[in-house]
Each structure stands twice: as C-alpha cells, then as structure tokens.
Symmetry: C2
Subunit: 236 residues, 2 copies
C-alpha cells in the first residue's frame, strides 16, 4: 500500500474487516507515539497517511478534531495518541508498557500527564529561534525527566522501554532540529547525561528504527512546514 | 481536623502510617475531581487544605508543581487529578469508574483527554467577561459532550456515574458563575437539554453533595481570587 498522503477528494481506502489501520502523517511526532507502540508490540496493521492541510472528508468523519493518530478496526475508531497507546496496550497484552504495581503506574502517569510541558517548551524554543527565555524553560522542564531516568535505569521502564519511553521519544529523535536552531540549548552528555545515554539506547530499538527519520529529513520537513507547504511525501 | 488552609511556615501535619490523605483547596475544581472519587467510592481519608498563594515547603516537597490535588499514604505520593483518580480506581476497585470493555474505555478516554478544551473555553469565557468569540467556542466544544450524553443515558457512565462524570462535573457545578458573567451563554434545557438534565441528576449524587458549594459561595471565592486575595477559608 502506498505511503503517499491522502488528500481531500481522494476515495476512502477500503478496509478489510478485522484489519487494524492507523491514520498517520509520516513526520507527526504524536502519530509516531502510536506507530512506536504498534512496532514494539509487533501488532499487524496497515498505514494510511493523511494530508493534514487538505483533509479528506472520510478522515474528518472518523476524527472530527482532524488530528493523527487515528486507529480504525471494523466499526471501531480511536484517536488521541495516549488513548490509542493505552488501548493497544490493553488489547494486545504482550510486551506490557505499564508497571503492574498501581503506585508505580501512577508515578509513570504523572510523568506522562505532565510531558506536555516538555513538548510545549520544545516548540517554543523552536519558534522563538532559540531565545534564552525559552531555552531556560526547556532545560528546566527536562530536569524532571533527567532525574527520573537516573532513578529508573536504562529506560524509563527500567530494563525495558515503557509507555513513557515511547510517549517522550519523538521529540528526542528530533533533537537535531532543535540543535540547529538553538545550539546553546542542545542536550549533551555533560548537561543531561542520563537523557543523552538514553537517546543512544533508544536509537537502537527496532521500533525506533522502524519509525524514525534522520535529522536531515526532519529539517527538510520542518522547513517545508514553516514555509506553509508541508512536504508530507518527502523522500518517497 | 481543621479544614482551614495551611500556609507557608505552618508545621507539617503528621500523617499516621496507612492513612490516606488528600491535599486540597476547598474551591479548586481539579482537587474536587479527586474528592468526588474519594466520596463516591467511600474511601476513608483525611483532608489537608493548602494555601495556594503561600505554599508550605512540605507541600512543595511532595508536589514540585505546587498544585492540588495530591494524595499521600505512608511514603507514597501521587498528584495530577486524572492520575490520582485512576490510581484510586485501581487500588479501590469497588464502584469501578471505567467500562470493562477496552474499546468503550478508549472512547471514554477520548472524552477525558479532550475535556481540557471545555475547561480552557470555560475560563476564557469567564476572563473575557462573556465575549461572543469565547461564548461561541464554549458552546462549540460542549456539543460533543451533549451528543455523548444522548448516546449514553443518565450519566456519561450510562446508568451510573463514571470517571468522565466526575472529571467533567466541577465546571458544571460552577455554571452559575458563568451565567452571572456571560448570561447569553448559559446552559439551559433548550440549548443543551442532555447536559441540563444531567446537571440536575448530578446535584443529587451523595459524592456531589459532600463536595459542592452553592453558586453564592463560588461567586464569593471567584471575586476574592480575582482581587488577588483568594479567600481559601470562606465560610469556615
């Protein structure tokens, strides 16, 4: 099936009963959260990429918010990245992504729930062109995650990656984009040693390898996005 | 135990091992989410109210974000309202607040995850003094919940209240505050019949009766908050 994006006016790609489908956009970090979980759990699925500037009506019928990721299977539709990931974790219990213990799960929940502080700071640093105010804020919110990694081990999940690893990852894969715009606020082995080491380990995971782009591609996509003409099919 | 708020400099109120404590602020809608779950599930607990303008050091040690609710039990601390509520639902399984079915749970998850659209619109309508732009946005995001109630029955949970009912409730209890500021955007039986009927039913729940304030008290608190001197102990 083609990975090219489907735009308004394109026919709905028919879905076989029982097949799990993800609606995605190749460079979307939120959709990547769910693509990572699909890959990590080895869940059979098909992918339909969507043109988020010219959204097909059949896409908006499935998610009125018009965002990816969206999961569809027979007559069931789920969206919002964290909801999609929790749903997959419950329906496909192999490689569980949460601790069994309720308290440990709640402590993960806090870091998941407040991770939007990192993404917000990330985008502000990017859009400000690397302002010190945005940079200081970014470093400040990262500290919690640096400390958490120190307590937990190789991954946020300890010896194996967890929901938190995959939820956080997409913005760390794109570190190179931030470095280009805001080199002063790069994550390095000296300022965030746990995060820097974790990034290296994450890049080795099969799920990351299956869903990632290199910095050059991310930069190209960001440039096209900023210019108002996102190149959803870049590299295809 | 006194319900008066604890301010910076006050001694840490000692906590007996095994006792569940909630740190709260009497008029905080986010803390009320967790108070509702504690009451609905009949979970024994004690309450420590916190002065959110002059936060005690021992409070900030427990939640560096400085927000309520916070749960504490022996050496365990949980915060963020939705995380607290999920934790309680897992540890105290009586009166479960989520559907058993993974897909139904995911559909609830979407409405929970996107409920911040309602709270954001609610506060904008309030702070704008009832502007039409904010009012239209508020009505627009409410429609999803009006439709969902129509599909589900008496409560978002169907015949009994669910996590979604308690997550959404605090802002609907405070409808009278919004009506005062933005009467044009009041929720009525004619514009949002399902929500209006649900509000009446919710006001009858023991958990709501145990945690609510009347509109007059909410208005008084909001006025003191707006004036920069929140009256945390109003009415005590």
């Amino acid at each position: 099936m083609s990975l090219k994006s489907h735009a308004k006016g394109s026919p709905y790609p028919s879905l076989s009963p029982g097949t799990l489908r993800i609606y995605s956009m190749r460079f979307c970090p939120f959709a990547q959260r769910t693509r990572l979980v699909l890959e990590h759990k080895k869940i059979p699925h098909e992918t339909i990429n969507v043109d988020l500037k010219k959204k097909p009506d059949w896409f908006l019928e499935r998610n009125p918010l018009g965002l990816v990721p969206v999961l569809e299977k027979t007559d069931q539709v789920v969206y919002e990245s964290l909801v999609c990931d929790d749903y997959l974790d419950q329906v496909y219990p192999d490689f569980p992504l949460y601790p069994q213990d309720a308290y440990k799960k709640a402590r993960d929940g806090i870091l998941l729930e407040t991770f939007s502080q990192v993404t917000t700071a990330w985008y502000k640093l990017l859009s400000s062109g690397g302002s010190d105010e945005a940079g200081e804020k970014f470093f400040s919110v990262l500290k919690t995650y640096e400390t958490a990694l120190g307590d937990r081990g190789e991954f946020f999940g300890g010896a194996t990656p967890s929901m938190l690893d995959f939820t956080a990852w997409p913005w760390f894969e794109r570190s190179g984009v931030l470095e280009k715009v805001a080199p002063k606020y790069a994550i390095t082995e000296s300022n965030f040693p746990n995060i820097a080491a974790w990034q290296k380990r994450m890049f080795e995971l099969p799920a990351v390898k299956a869903t990632m782009f290199d910095t050059e591609s991310h930069l190209r996509f960001f440039a096209s996005y900023k210019a108002g003409a996102p190149d959803y099919d870049y590299g295809l």
